[in-house]
Amino acid sequence: MGILEVKGVGKRFGGLQALGDVNLSVQEQTVHAIIGPNGAGKSTLLNCFVGKLIPDEGSVLFNGQSLLGRTPHEITQMGVSRVFQTPEIFGDLSVMENMMIPCFAKRDGAFRMHAFESVDNESELIEKAEQMLIDVNMVDKRNMNAASMSRGDKRRLEMAMCLVQDPKLLLLDEPTAGMARADTNNTIDLLKEIKEKRDITMAIIEHDMHVVFSLADRITVLAQGTPLVEDTPQNIKDNPKVREAYLGETQQ
């Protein structure tokens, strides 16, 4: 049984069937890519994993526990982290402050007052945050304002903020969307490194085939809200049904 088990998930928005009968199993310590043309329901599916949307039917199990009806913050505390299409970071804060927040969230687990302690005295957490910044090669930017960095750096920071919490499952929503080629390659390298060094499972939604084929162990192709096929990257490449869904090649 996989770390993430999706069974018979369906979601409808008014008259639009966004997802129908989605079955998916993400195996532990693999990179599972979900691809598909625009409007295939990829982001809807991801939103069903993190508590932003509640599916009309079906179940989503993470490590055997249902994720349905839980709020995003509860799901995050269970060990599911999410990277967004546009990096979601604390733009007004410094890089180091950005790193400290997930450290506190991980340690405290929920709301704690801590109104009379100083952030500067939390040497254990500071060390942890700093080590993470070293790992993603950003320690020289620790005092920089997060909003003033390049998109690639913001992505890197967002990833570091997720990883510092040691999540079991990392969800990535088009992690290289809108990035320059160099930034894309950097992100791929970073993700590869994470995959090798850490005990982590990744589910990734991506448009860029270059990214998908250099990272994924398994690929699910989604079309019109239903999984078309699930297979290894090599088999997906050669599958005529996939070509059809992507390129609109009908019988000639």
């Binding site: 979601e88 604390f90 007004d92 804060l93 410094s94 402050e97 709301f111 801590h114 952030v119």
Partner: protein, 401 residues
């Protein structure tokens, strides 16, 4: 010192010095000069500086850190005042009974109002708080007359129980015999300095309030509040629920407002419903924005500027203007005075309005940003090559400046 780093300790010491030396610093002009009317070192006004400073510091914890704009904080001000006056009526004139009650009661009200209002954010939150404050105002003004004495305002009467009242006890607000409205006057040449008990009482509480707020700014809790303002979505996906944090900030700022309201009644043993009106809520918003939202010093500065203008500009009348512009030719003098008189006296709101617009347009970070720019101008005069934001990305500013 006191759990602060070197820089903050220095900052706190400067604030303490400025607060304690206010009666001297605000009295720069000799009594006989025509500028003496710009002196602000009289007890009533200095007390207001300190009290509204506390109010604004507390408001800034909510608005400055979390970005939630409350339009209802005057309700807590009123609750604070009523609590203190009730303690005068029931026990005695010692403010030690009323002030803690003011803080606790306003905190409880803030808990209820915040719990409901914080279900929404942005403009809807502001409207909800405004609605609650107007409701409190109307309750105080008419419905709850037995408790608030309606439009007359709550005050102490001779037939009130005052069960702790001793035979020799002062008959005005005091702290264990230190009477609030007593002052020591010192004449130095042509200068008169007034050292008022009430002011120093408020000032010491204001310093403590400032210190607590400084600690909150530097704490993990403060960091979370800033994270809420910056990106609530990311905070959720970091595994934290924003609601308890915003509620805690709301309650703390409500308690600050209650304390300020209690101090108002400690200086002058009266409490009226008008203290709860929405204009009073709006005033603290203006103070915070004018001084600098989210900065430590800004709200205090804003409170000072607005109270100064309210008291000093409103005193300037036509005679004063004539004495200033008397040297101009008659026709021109008439014209200048015609223009100027709209900005002074009862027209001081015009001046503060213009100042507010100028600050919002040119200094979005408030007066504090103005100060920082001037400081940066002096620091940069050595001639750094042209600032290229691409290659010199800005560093995150230290929040306290």
């Amino acid at each position: 010192m006191l759990g602060l780093d070197k820089r903050d300790t220095k900052f706190l010491l400067i604030v303490i010095f400025l607060t304690l030396a206010t009666p001297i610093l605000l009295q720069p002009f000799p009594e006989s000069s025509t500028l003496a009317q710009f002196n602000a070192g009289y007890p009533d006004l200095m007390q207001r500086f300190a009290i509204f400073g506390i109010f604004a510091i507390g408001f800034n914890i909510l608005f400055g850190l979390t970005g939630y704009l409350s339009f209802g904080h005057a309700a807590f001000l009123g609750i604070g005042s009523y609590s203190v006056v009730w303690m005068y009526k029931l026990l005695d004139y010692n403010v030690i009974w009323g002030l803690p009650l003011a803080v606790i009661l306003s905190g409880l009200f803030a808990l209820v109002i915040g719990y409901v209002s914080l279900r929404r954010s942005g403009i809807y939150f502001s409207i909800l708080t405004l609605a609650f404050a107007q409701m409190s105002f109307n309750l105080a003004y008419s419905v709850l007359t037995p408790i608030t004495n309606g439009e007359t305002g709550l005050q102490v009467y001779t037939d009130d129980p005052q069960i702790l009242m001793g035979a020799t006890e002062p008959t005005s607000p005091h702290l264990f015999g230190i009477v609030m409205n007593q002052s020591a006057k010192i004449n130095l040449g042509d200068w008169v300095f007034t050292f008022n008990n009430g002011y120093y009482f408020c000032a010491i509480i204001a310093i403590i309030a400032f210190y607590i707020s400084l600690r909150i700014f530097r704490s993990p809790f403060g960091l979370m509040l800033r994270a809420i303002k910056s990106n609530q979505q990311r905070l959720n996906y970091t595994g934290l629920n924003a609601r308890p944090y915003t509620l805690a900030a709301f309650v703390i700022s409500g308690m600050y407002a209650g304390l300020a309201g209690g101090l108002m009644a400690s200086m002058d043993p009266l409490a009226g419903a008008e203290r709860m009106q929405w204009t009073a809520s709006g005033e603290v918003v203006l103070m915070t924005i004018l001084g600098g939202v989210g900065t430590m010093m800004g709200p205090v500065l804003g409170a000072g500027v607005i109270k100064y203008m309210e008291n000093i500009f409103s005193k300037i009348n036509e005679q004063v203007l004539h004495s200033w512009f008397g040297w101009l030719p008659d026709s021109l003098e008439g014209f200048v005075i015609f223009i100027a008189e709209h900005f002074v006296g009862s027209g001081w709101h015009m001046t503060s309005g213009v100042l507010f617009m100028l600050v919002v347009i040119f200094l979005p970070g408030g007066l504090v940003e103005g100060g920082q720019r001037i400081k940066a101008m002096f620091n940069n005069r050595g001639g750094d090559d042209a600032d290229d934001p691409e290659h010199h990305p800005k560093h995150a500013p230290h929040v306290a400046e």
